[in-house]
């Protein structure tokens, strides 16, 4: 089957759900999210059919796309992340009902689980694009859906503030991206990543400065997307204000797509001799600053969502360490595996956060006090995801870090690995802060937290994934080689 058919199917699922929303009973909107998850699941199954790239002629088309292992892996990754987030939304309905004034009961609920599906189509598209124009268009499809989602709780000031910030900074980074693409196109005459190296090699020396300017602008835009220092400043505020499922989605799917584009760009540009060294220095610099900032700024946080925001910056740092080691053949499997583990542990922690904050009325870490007594299941799930985020053996997070550090050592980045050790120690501190709250502190109230069957299933699946990936990582790595 053709590539892009998957993306079209995802859009179709979204449109059908919008239609269905008009016809189903308004009192039970959970139905829509289950249907959405089912539709995306069907697309996920389709993605295992053999695929051919659309329009293989390298010079021809804007619709140029690939079906290489990297894109196939991350398309499935984004689909799975979306399915989980869509399944999380029913637990979020009480909050939605509180902050969205609806004339009729149940109004405006279904869209909350449908919009991620459109964002998903955009991100999938972005992952397999190898042309700047397509990257840009698909990025816009995803971010416009996300603009709406971030500001979805329209009577909640924090959500509005987050939405405004996200909109302004997102638009700014889009501006950087377009402007950078224009410069690159102006110098080389192509927007195609595959044709870019040859075009650059043919350039005269005098064209190098404008080209570098263009590349730098594109890097700035991508750093916004993956939340690398110094373009990370939107993350804590937006993460804190956005509805929790959206925060989860931002920190997993959107970041992954950004990284794939970054990898493609660096792989293309590394074929140009005079750029290699400059790019490496740039990426190492980004890695160092992101690792230091993300980990050390996370230490004093007292709000769980902000903590997870900083933690997502920190993990971007480890992933960048993998990007800095792209000259090793194992780097892409390492990054892919890291993301697979990151998906399970991050979404699991956001799921628990969602339930706890709804029940305890806030996102502060103190709301987790004594969670082990109120709900051993939720506390256990959070313990597992915190252990994995910190990098304890037999969890996905450990194997991911091991592989990243391994490829970094192999490519000779000893300094980065040394820094990684220090930041991992910082990570122990702030992740264990949550464990301490859950197990050491006394709860302020002792009523158990109700957990629905869907949530139990999600916890079981993600928890099993964290342990399974930590014990038997081979299949995921094989998928990327």
């Amino acid at each position: 089957m053709n590539t892009l058919l998957l993306e079209f199917s995802v859009v179709a699922v979204g449109v059908l759900l919008l239609l269905a929303d008009s016809f189903v009973d308004r009192s039970n909107k959970n139905f829509i999210s289950y249907l959405g998850a089912l539709g995306l699941g069907a697309v996920l199954v389709l993605s295992f059919l053999p695929q051919q790239p659309l329009l293989t002629d390298c010079t021809a088309s804007l619709f140029l796309s690939t079906a290489d292992p990297l894109s196939t892996f991350f398309i499935r990754f984004i689909l799975i992340a979306t399915i989980i987030v869509v399944l999380m939304t029913p637990s979020f309905v009480p909050v939605l009902e509180r902050y969205i004034p609806a004339e009729r009961k149940g109004g405006g609920i279904a869209e909350f689980s449908i919009l991620p599906i459109f964002a998903c189509a955009g991100l999938m598209w972005m992952v397999r694009s190898v042309d700047f124009i397509m990257i840009f268009v698909s990025l816009e499809l995803a971010t416009i859906s996300l603009y709406i989602l971030v500001t979805y709780l329209r009577q909640n000031q924090a959500s509005l503030e987050a939405g405004t910030k996200y909109l302004i900074l997102g638009a700014l980074s889009t501006g950087f991206l377009v402007y950078g693409i224009t410069w690159i196109f102006g110098v080389t005459g192509t927007t195609n990543l595959l044709a870019l190296p040859d075009a650059i090699n043919a350039l005269p020396e005098s064209a190098h400065t404008p080209l570098l300017f263009g590349i730098a602008l594109v890097f700035v835009a991508l750093s916004f997307k993956i939340a690398a220092f110094p373009f990370q400043f939107w993350v804590p505020d937006v993460y804190q204000g956005a509805p929790t499922p959206v925060t989860a989605y931002l920190s997993v799917a959107s970041k992954a797509a950004g990284f794939v584009v970054l990898i493609r760009l660096i792989e293309a540009l590394s074929q140009v001799p005079f750029l290699q060294q400059k790019l490496l220095v740039l990426v190492i610099l980004l890695t160092v600053m992101t690792l230091i900032f993300g980990n050390f700024a996370a230490i004093p946080q007292s709000n769980m969502k902000r903590l997870l925001g900083y933690s997502s910056i920190a993990h971007a740092g480890y992933l960048l360490m993998g990007v800095a080691s792209l000259s090793s053949v194992l780097a892409i499997p390492a990054i892919g595996f890291y993301f697979a583990g990151y998906l399970a542990m991050t979404l699991l922690s956001f799921l628990v956060l969602l339930l706890v904050s709804e029940n305890a009325g806030g996102d502060e870490i103190t709301r987790f006090n004594g969670l082990s007594k109120r709900s051993p299941l939720l506390a256990g799930a959070m313990l597992l995801s915190m252990a994995s985020l910190a990098g304890i053996p037999f969890t996905a997070g450990f194997v991911g870090k091991l592989m990243i550090f391994g490829v970094a050592l192999k490519t000779g980045h000893f300094g980065l690995v040394g820094l990684g050790c220090i930041t991992v120690a910082a990570g122990f501190y702030y992740y264990f802060k949550v464990v301490r709250a859950m197990y050491w502190q006394q709860p302020s109230e002792t009523t158990p937290i109700p957990v629905t069957l869907t949530v139990k299933l999600l916890i079981a699946v993600m928890g099993a994934a964290i342990i399974a990936l930590g014990i038997y990582p081979a299949p995921v790595i094989a998928a990327l080689r």
Binding site: F394, F405, A425, F428, Y439, A474
Partner: protein, 485 residues
Amino acid sequence: MSPLLLLILLPLIASLFIAAGANARRTALGAALINLLAAIVLFFRYDLHKGGWQFVSQWHVLPKLGVNLILGADGLSLTMLLLAALVTFSALLVAPKIEKQEGLYYISLLFISAGVIGAFASIDVLFLYGFHELALIPTFLLIGIWGSGDRQAAAWKATIYLGTASFVLLIGLVALYLSMPPDARSFDLRQMHDLAANTNWSPARWIYILLIVGFGTLVSLFPFHSWAAPAYASAPAPAAMLHAGVLKKFGLYGLIRIALQFFPKEITEAVNPFLIILLIGNIGYIGYVTVAQKRLDWTVGYSSVMHMGYIFLGLAAFNVLGVNGAALLMFAHGLSVAAAFALCGEIRQRTGTLDYCELGGLAKSVPVLGLLFGFVTMASVGLPGFANFAGEILVFFGAALSFYAHGDLIMLIAIVIGVWGVVISAIYMLRAYRNIFWGPIAARWESLTDIAPTARYSVILLLIPLMIAGFYPQFILKMVGTVLH
């Protein structure tokens, strides 16, 4: 099914049952008892003539990277497994009635046990490392929830220290792996051994230093020791027993297995003098720190830091006598410190304090407890008849041999301070014994109940092998001797 896998899985399965609602204490004790019997059987089933790794079984995890779960045991690992099983059972037996979250308490203890057993039974270095880490979170919970004193600060400190050390260690192990020739890379100890014996594989010096610091911190090598005493003082008795008795030996085990085996002589000879300076810090400096303590739990905690110095001395001597002595001392110290922490817990439970100023004359009200503590004191001091003595004497002989062979002045200083250290430990242990059990008894301690049968058997269970190995050190030495020659 490999017997070693069963040994690892049993505590984990038991914790699943406890999580599902089974009676925590009985399930945990049952699993630990089966493990103890299995460990004893394996210990005696080991074929000494054949030597080498036995009971080997293997599962592929990341074949392309050379990562496989390979379980197997030789004389040294079986000795450590026996120690682990003994201390686990004894620690669970001595555990008092738990008021809050009993299930979690036993699950944490079982996880620590599974972790150390896994570490000692792994031939694959990555799993050896990974299993050890399994104990990190349970320790954090045990100290933080059920500890005493300034427990939260102690738990934080220990967790951050150990977590960081583990990552230093991990980097060292990965670097060691990458230093091998590309087509021969493996985490399999046996293949690493062949590689070191048959090729001119020589890992760099900084890797050796990373391993020494990484493993050393886990064993509370001076000056990376400051996590140990507060953590042990605050931990509930069973957790301190398992941690100080068994888990801490993992670092030494790793040093023997990895750091001592694969590095060329030039590197070890260049670095070891610095190691000797650090271990002098353990014996001399920490020895006096121990003397200055005013409470029993802190005394025992610091003494366990101090005694690590002797084991390091054996390793630094780097000859058969020294390393065999160190291995015997690991076994002996594991048992004696576990017994000491068990009795600490018993006393604290009765009096609510371990302060020397408040206690005194307890032997009148709790004579059996006093007698057992006397045994532990003598073992800890290194009186002949206990395995500690045999281990220490071998370590000294080994160190002296090394001194005669190389003529290092620093080694001579270490030996002198080491012998003086025996006197220091006699001072603080005998003083503790006198302050707590002798002298006039305060009225409020007169009606204390003596040690309960379960706790009594638990300590006796630790003392028996200690004395067997004391009178007949070959019991252990012939096992560890198969590894180190």
